[in-house]
Symmetry: C2
Subunit: 215 residues, 2 copies
Amino acid sequence: MKQKQSRSQGSRYYPKRYDFDEKSRNAILDEGLVCHVGFVLDGQPFMIPTGYCRLDNTLYLHGSVGSHFFMQLAKGVPVCVSVTHVDGLVLARSVFHHSMNYRSVVVFGRSRLVESKEERWLAAEKFTEHVIPGRWNEARKPTESDMKKTMFIAVPIEEASVKFRDGGVVDEPEDMELPVWAGVLPLKLQALEPEADETGRRDVEIPEYVRGYAR
Amino acid sequence: MKQKQSRSQGSRYYPKRYDFDEKSRNAILDEGLVCHVGFVLDGQPFMIPTGYCRLDNTLYLHGSVGSHFFMQLAKGVPVCVSVTHVDGLVLARSVFHHSMNYRSVVVFGRSRLVESKEERWLAAEKFTEHVIPGRWNEARKPTESDMKKTMFIAVPIEEASVKFRDGGVVDEPEDMELPVWAGVLPLKLQALEPEADETGRRDVEIPEYVRGYAR
């Protein structure tokens, strides 16, 4: 796999913002819940947010067999898939040096309809475990009829661009004594209290993989 | 403005997933920190995550004048901009009915280089206040030189597609008595403890708009 290089910033003002390590790429992809999938239709850019998972060097998407979007992807088209995490606001003394800490991957590849039964089941399991590890072996597994309603799309990662910013504030020397609070405000997607469904049986305890959920 | 209709799901299994209300559209756009911008280059889909803000019916992006991506947008090209919030995991008794609660907007428009000084300053202020209200009047404002390094791109919202899922679990009647915990695990992007920059003066208190930050 070729890792696409993002433009180096080179200046003392900017922390390192790219990484060619496949491990970084995978860590960002594996932490995300939703990706944005871009494709071209009649020369126009289209984009859709959707769930995904990664298996080795392939991303999997899934959707309803009736979805126009997924029917386009089933044709095998060039796509661009992006996953981004916002990690914090960088509050410099000057507006110009305000920034965000983030990690992002942009993947380029060609979509492929997943047709083999084995790969479809593998994707279904991986998808569930990507979102919430531990769930696949507990929830009622898909029936043949459930699977018939679901289309799986593979996107082999042909190229990937990994970009990030981390670290602290960078300000101009002449701004350092301004009476302006400067620092980083970290942001994180966090799980709140689980809300049990009360329409079914109520004697089932909240599993540890739900109670202790964190990305 | 035309609101693009997303496909109605129609079935009892799916909560309402679209909304034509401009207020919903704006609320989703105004809560987000990062958007994904899709465009077409030589017939290939490209995408980049970046900050943004909304002013009335226009999105504003900004970047370095040297950025290849922003130079493309400066030409005035069809773009697709998406903002998505993940609100929770919907854990049904069956794998098939697992879902996510989310809110998303996909905007279609044509990029435009912002050239007037007035609109550039308006965008700079709006951008800062979009990310962290209260900051513009406190931080050191951009100089002419700062502004020269920055390119502003406007994307008038020509069409917008608003989609969301909220609410609880929907399962098949025959699954309701399975001994599987079902419910919603809410997720939220939250601010953690601010980390002060210790390279400048240290007698500045953390402002309330930082301490009490929430999207």
